[in-house]
Symmetry: C2
Subunit: 254 residues, 2 copies
């Protein structure tokens, strides 16, 4: 079955406190896209963070000594308050080199600057953070949009991450609801062994990356629908994008 | 613009020496999908490898001492000949633990077992390898399909890889032609600094991952078309998926 990746135009600049499900639902209705059973709504992280007020006001940030130290490194001085915000969002520093900070967030995601970013539509001196609980954000959107359109849908909250070993960025899922984050396509015998090796695809990431093809930077598309993908609704409590975080003890690539 | 990910059924079991462009072209024609300007043809690695005879016959493999050593590790014995094939395909061992081998291939790709795999449609005791030069494989397919259908198209050769830090597999590009492997969406000022940070998306990987949504294991779909993505043809010599390999010296995640 052909899958359609449908950009949803007409989502206004989102600000703190805006009812995101209503805003997205209105854009879907206005674009005559609607929602059908099996659709996945992909929403970029920044609009979720703005609506939820996951923001940091630089003028209110007092840098720690370590943030001051980091700020003086690299080829050009950086704002110690920005680095303080990044540190507060981080559970672990993965790499700290050449003025760049790759950290693991409190959710377990490994990305540049703990996902802290500047963004259009927030005031100068205000940074966007990752949502506190992106799986809950996705679930709230899913529930409200499913109610409004009467459809069994999934929601994925996407962000644009770099990757080890490979150049370029792709969008991945940092939150999801309604759909299975992982889909097991069954086992095959391991190479030369007797071990059953399962092909488990990162379905929520596949959706996020596909949606990213129409959610280009600068194109102003913050929402997309992926229609026609094959999946069965995940029961409540099946786990969100948190399940995409691989524990260090299972990570053969580390 | 909506993007369509179109599965192409009817590609027969590919064997060594089969003219892949003709086989894929016939399937496209039979499915009445054809090819239009801007289409990207995604082809899974295994059919490319089989057509090109990128195979290893286990009975002809003499394991080295190190392959024998590896074979005795892990919880269950593995076939030393399989491990010898993996070692021959590898430039570097990234991780060797619990009976698993993560290696860097001679192309520079980091993946399990250097991409060596068992596969349907090859005889018992025969393994598929990654194509010698997947960018050249992609370029040959692109040229022949572009000639036949009179369209400016791209081709991506896909494989299913695991990733550090994240659970589950996604399809990535190991070869591409006609399209830019990376697309620069322009610069924004770096966080708190004055450095222009470019948003460079791994376009060929985005296409591969999106196509993977219809190229499920077991579904028997080895070819898909991604129609409607926004890209401009890459000039010859613009570089293929090799450009997606990040040099260790630039890899902040390592």
């Amino acid at each position: 079955m052909t899958i359609a990746i449908i950009p949803v135009p007409g989502v206004p600049m989102v600000t703190e406190g805006m009812p995101l499900a209503e805003v997205v639902g209105d854009a879907l209705a206005a674009a005559r896209v609607g929602l059908k059973d099996g659709d996945v709504v992909a929403v970029c992280q920044k609009v979720v963070s703005k609506a939820e007020g996951a923001l940091a006001v630089l003028a209110e940030v007092e840098p720690s000594a370590f943030a001051d130290t980091l700020a003086a490194q690299g080829e050009m001085a950086r704002d110690a308050r920005v680095l303080e915000v990044v540190l507060r969002e981080s559970a672990r520093i993965v790499r700290n080199d050449r003025g760049h900070l790759i950290t693991e967030t409190h959710h377990g995601y490994v990305c540049a600057n703990a996902g802290v970013d500047q963004s259009n539509g927030v005031a100068e001196g205000v940074l966007t953070l990752l949502p506190r609980d992106p799986d809950r954000s996705a679930e709230e959107l899913r529930r409200d949009l499913a109610d409004r359109f009467g459809s069994a849908i999934g929601v994925v909250v996407t962000d644009t991450f770099g990757r080890p070993w490979r150049e370029g960025l792709v969008d991945v899922a940092i939150g999801c609801a309604g759909l299975p984050p992982l889909i097991d396509h069954g086992g095959t015998l391991d190479l030369g062994g007797r071990e059953l090796r399962h092909t488990v695809m990162a379905f929520a990431d596949q959706i996020a990356t596909a949606a990213g093809l129409v959610m280009e930077k600068g194109a102003g598309i913050a929402v997309a629908i992926v229609r026609g993908a094959r999946w069965t609704p995940a029961p409540p409590g099946a786990g969100g994008a948190k399940r995409l975080v691989r524990g260090a003890e299972f990570d053969l690539f580390r």
